[in-house]
């Protein structure tokens, strides 16, 4: 099972195992990682699962689609080139060890 590392805004790291095929967001909410609100449950309605994907991994992800882009334009913390909505990142074996940073706030 691939491992995903969440780094909180305060520097605390949470390592969780996520089934391949599930989203990074679900990995956070099911394992109690603080800072991923995920109010809409991954339906691209709320933009409260914003993460900054570590540069070493960001380029390996499929590109941002139109709706995700619209939402990222208005996230609570500043959008960066490596900003993603974690509900849209599907975990694969290739992403084992991926590091994502959680912004200070989601709303």
């Amino acid at each position: 099972m691939p491992k995903i590392v969440f780094r909180g805004a305060d520097g605390t790291a949470h390592e969780v195992n996520v089934d391949a095929g599930r989203s990074v967001m679900l990995g956070a909410t099911i394992n109690g990682v603080p800072g991923i609100d995920a109010d809409c449950g991954g339906t691209l309605s709320c933009a409260t699962c914003h993460v900054y994907v570590d540069k070493a991994w960001a380029d390996r992800l499929p590109p941002v689609d139109e709706v995700e882009n619209d939402l990222l334009e208005n996230v609570a913390c500043e959008r960066a080139p490596n900003s993603r909505l974690s509900c849209q990142i599907v975990v694969t074996e290739e992403l084992d060890g991926m590091v994502v940073d959680i912004p200070e706030r989601q709303f």
Binding site: T29, G32, A38, D39, S45, D70, L71
Partner: protein, 404 residues
């Protein structure tokens, strides 16, 4: 056990608990839910979960680890029958539990109506996972479904079932769908989409009777004399607040459990949040009861903070979403008191937002497949701004420049 007792097991309950902890509440926290599962996402129940594209494992709002890490205990299958204010305890089907503070997050129940035949088998409502499971179990025996009510739940169910190949009829008593929540332009657009997907839509007619055979529903008779065949009827005519626990304590109005901006009732030990709460609303400037994930979440956070002794009033702009077919419908603000509508985008392209203006201010934005407009609105509508209709209608005008 003492500490904080929370009655109810959904968004508001979870957010009261987690916010109390985040704000430093150190006593026990116990959630009493009459269901047998942890709080879960409800919107998929009328959509992906019904269709089978969303599985059960993805439904919980938070996993068990979260409750353990935050020392939040959940008592399942516990219906709370009474609050004993003098003794500071709740009477539940799982026993009697003491509390120091109490939060009411009991939500709503589906409205029923005194219509002949209402108790026939095959007439269902949708609020909970158990309801959704029961509907899914019925589907193999269903060909024609009649949905009574053209609000969000009714339309989402209609879209899901039409997509799955069922014959779907929607009956709405008012003269258009979504009449309570949006304007004529959006209603007309949505009605056109449903018609294009083969959904039969009858507005402005009331159900006169449900007719059955052998105790099971077979058709729905409307006031205009039309008989609509049905193997299943979904009653989606709104919801009523579960405020019975608060009533004997004098904490409820007919509209729900009365709270202030911080989710406090008139009793210093008792709080409430979510669909059951009728409260001061900063954006509306008056008391309202909102039925939404956003309100349950934000009001829950405010109430949890108040339990911990922290003043954190809920000042969020109300917002809402609904997915129907490939339409991403999102709403932000409240259109009451608006004096004109301006369209940004294109109805033909099925990508637009309807801006409701009150003078030079935006009161509400109802969007279809335009998530950016909705996201912007959640921030812009909460601050002072001034805009013209021409600016809104101009696709080259950057709305973000209004943020100042």
């Amino acid at each position: 056990m003492a500490g904080l007792a929370i009655v109810g097991g959904s968004y508001a309950a979870l957010n009261i608990a987690s916010s109390a902890r985040q704000n430093g509440y150190g006593e026990d926290i116990t959630i009493f839910t009459d269901e047998d599962v942890l709080p879960y996402h409800r919107p998929p129940l009328s959509k992906g979960f019904l269709l089978g594209s969303v599985d059960r494992e993805t439904l919980p709002l938070r996993g068990e680890a979260f409750y353990r890490d935050n020392r939040i205990e959940v008592v399942f299958g516990a219906r709370v029958d009474q609050i004993d204010r003098a003794e500071q305890c709740v009477e539940t089907t799982k026993g009697r539990f003491g509390f120091q503070q109490l939060a009411i997050a009991t939500g709503t129940r589906a409205r029923r109506a005194a219509i002949p035949g209402i108790d026939l088998e095959g007439i269902v409502t949708l609020r909970s996972l158990a309801d959704a499971d029961a509907i899914r179990d019925r589907l193999p025996h269903v060909t024609s479904v009649v949905i009574v009510g053209g609000g969000f739940i009714g339309l989402e169910m209609a879209a899901s079932m039409a997509k799955s190949g069922f014959e779907v009829t929607v009956i709405e008593g008012l003269d258009r769908v979504l009449a309570r929540v949006t304007g004529q332009t959006m209603s007309t657009f949505i009605e056109g989409e449903f018609a294009a997907h083969g959904v039969r839509l009858f507005c402005g007619t009331a159900v006169q009777a449900f007719e059955g055979e052998g105790g099971k529903v077979r058709s729905v008779l409307t006031a205009d004399g039309v008989r609509h065949p049905a193997d299943m009827v979904v009653l989606a005519i709104g919801a009523e607040p579960n405020s019975e626990l608060a009533e004997p304590l004098g904490l409820a109005a007919p509209q729900g459990v009365v709270v202030d901006l911080c989710g406090r009732t008139a009793d210093p030990l008792i709080f409430a949040a979510g669909d059951c709460a009728f409260g001061a609303n900063a954006y509306a400037g008056r008391q309202i009861r909102l039925e939404s994930v956003q309100n349950a979440t934000d009001q829950g956070k405010a109430a949890g903070a108040a339990v911990a002794g922290i003043e954190a009033p809920n000042t969020s702009v109300p917002w809402f979403w609904s997915d129907q077919f490939d339409l991403k419908l999102q709403m932000v603000g409240l259109s009451e008191g608006a004096d004109r509508e301006v369209i940004r985008g294109s109805l033909e392209a099925r990508k637009f937002s309807i801006f409701s203006l009150r003078g030079d201010r935006i009161a509400a934005i109802d969007s279809v497949n335009s998530a950016g407009d909705n996201m912007l609105g959640r921030r812009l509508l909460g601050v002072a701004h001034s805009v013209t209709a021409e600016q809104i209608a101009d696709p080259d005008f950057n709305l973000r420049s209004l943020m100042g």
